[in-house]
Symmetry: C2
DNA sequence: GTGAAAGCGCTAACAC
DNA sequence: GTGTTAGCGCTTTCAC
């Protein structure tokens, strides 16, 4: 069998059947724990499988059953960058748990740029997977192209900019942001800075919108220069905070679009000799573990990674079962987790 | 076609062929840019593909061609944890680049625990992918089970503990570590601490071995309590360093098994009021970007993520082509990148 | 409870 | 250049 050093060919169903003295139908039944098979035949088949080292050929199975048993989780960003947010990390882990329990394999597909995104979309619609979850800054123009017309079950995490022809799960970013800023205003803060992440991202624009809404309906200072633009990362947020402090020495609160940026803000504020929350109150977004590691600990707007993952998973499963094909958004609630960087009672 | 609201069935080769008035062979040729096809026929086929929205069925193609066009990169660790090391992040990115250029799709498979590892190994040997790269703390007993007997092309990143029946790529951890410690000794340091990562990991044990080798052949203090055990992370390394400083106030150097832990060591040393490198020299491992962000900047033992990725990729490709099936290690060289936390001229 | 037979959608000889 | 044909390895009716 192995005459000239070649790799031994993989055993097939037929070979197992021959060795077990049954038909390949019976072998198939045993493998799939399907219909009733006599215990005797079952044992013979199991032995033959062991003897031949048989493994099912997934391509063949997928061809006939039209199922691959795999789910793509495409991440439209550099992986290392994506996983710096601990919300993302926890969420992807929860996603894996969700599908693991349902016997589906999660494939993480990194799509850091346009070229790769195209390739991954091709990978998805050519039938390597039964469905896909798209994470990160997904843009409509990229999405709509081939993926939607291919009718593959798809759910996006976070509302894709400008798109309403695809299912997505998101939190009410604008509302969450508005509520947080309102709390700052209620405590008597008047000059409230805002540090935003990249505005190519829908959640960034929504959180910014919420901030503006809260400011608009109040007596707090309304000034475009109170908005610092960063990129979700530490460095850029530190720079933005420094600039804010220079421009507005009377600043008495900062709301940040994520916790990592709030960490930077806290460091810069403390370096400047100001006290938190007495002089400047700080609120972050995501309630990630780093919110516990700052001094003082960070008040943050929370979303549950587990709930988020479950919402994504269930939506996808529904589409995969053909139950519910109309695109629909799922909006998840948030709440503020109060810590020392700002509490409602910290009046100014 | 879409009578009762059902999803429109996907077009097949035959339908395209009928519409284009050619045989399915010709359609196949056009799709695969294969043999010569008359320009006229080619256009008709292309039009028909567009008209029908045809997409190749990967399962069918894989069944007959015995190729999936995908490579698994299994990560035997929590993804978020794995990507905290910037070497890992850069390496995986380089790996993606490597395979992208060769038209192979990289699938990241997170295998944080035994249960998942089993599932992923099954996924691999059932033929979803053409080959696999295993990263993280891979253990022999897990590996050898089914994967090797299934004869799937496999390369491991980092020598798996106790295994020699699988190809792997690694740096010469022991040698690299020994050289770094020898430099410390040569500069006159006598009480050299070592902070190790989890010893379940082969590179951790090798780096520790190199440290011991260097100490053994020298007049530096040989004392088990100079070895601090941490888990590659910041917190545990900070604790280990503090303990080291308490136990050995005369400590004049610390060598850390990775840069993140060296960062922690630096912070603790500076907190204690000691100067780097005057009082205590510090060397890290990996030359990751954080080595540039410490004060002082960190001297570190370097391995190139790109070279590492290329070595993994080429080894795997060789196995996939059937060229080279014998398991063999590839050992990559390292060098010390000198920065301010220690230089050869910083004599004690 | 079991087997025979059809066929999933594609590629790859092999003729013409 | 193009069509015909024979499978790839599996699941799944449908008889028995």
């Amino acid at each position: 069998m192995d005459q000239n050093g070649k790799r031994k060919a993989r055993a097939t169903l037929v070979e197992v059947a021959e060795l077990a003295l049954v038909s390949k139908s019976t072998v198939s039944r045993v493998i799939n724990e399907d219909a009733a098979v006599s215990e005797e035949a079952r044992q013979r088949v199991l032995d033959a499988i062991r003897a031949t080292g048989y493994r099912v050929n997934q391509s063949a199975r997928a061809l006939v059953s039209n199922k691959t048993g795999a789910i793509a989780v495409a991440i439209y960003e550099q992986l290392a960058t994506y996983f710096t947010s601990s919300f993302s990390g926890a969420m992807v882990t929860a996603l894996q748990d969700f599908f693991f329990e349902r016997d589906l394999q999660v494939l993480i597909l990194p799509a850091p740029n346009r070229e790769r995104q195209k390739r991954i979309e091709k990978y998805i619609y050519e039938g390597h997977v039964d469905g896909a979850i798209l994470l990160g800054p997904v843009r409509e123009d990229i999405l709509l192209s081939d993926l939607l017309s291919a009718q593959v079950p798809i759910v996006v995490g976070g509302r894709p900019i400008g798109s309403d022809s695809v299912s997505y799960v998101d939190i009410d970013n604008a509302k969450a942001s508005e509520l947080a800023v309102q709390e700052l205003i209620r405590s008597g803060r008047k000059t409230i800075g805002f540090i935003t992440g990249q505005l190519s991202n829908a959640s960034a624009t929504d959180r910014l919108r919420g901030y503006k809404l809260a400011i608009d309906g109040s007596d707090a200072r309304d000034d475009e220069t109170l908005i610092g633009i960063a990129d979700w990362g530490y460095e850029s947020a530190a720079i933005a905070t420094r600039k804010l402090l220079e421009l507005h020495p009377e600043l008495d609160a900062i709301f940040c679009s994520n916790d990592l940026m709030a960490t930077a803000a806290i460091a810069v504020i403390r370096d400047s000799g100001r006290k938190i929350p007495e002089d400047i109150a700080v609120i972050g977004f995501d309630d990630s573990p780093i919110a516990l590691r700052t001094t003082p600990q960070l008040t943050s707007v929370a979303q549950s990674p587990e709930d988020y993952a479950r919402a994504l998973g269930e939506n996808l499963l529904k589409q995969m079962s053909g139950e519910d094909l109309s695109p629909k958004p799922v909006i998840l609630p948030t709440q503020i987790v109060w810590r020392d960087s700002f509490k409602p009672e910290n009046h100014k």
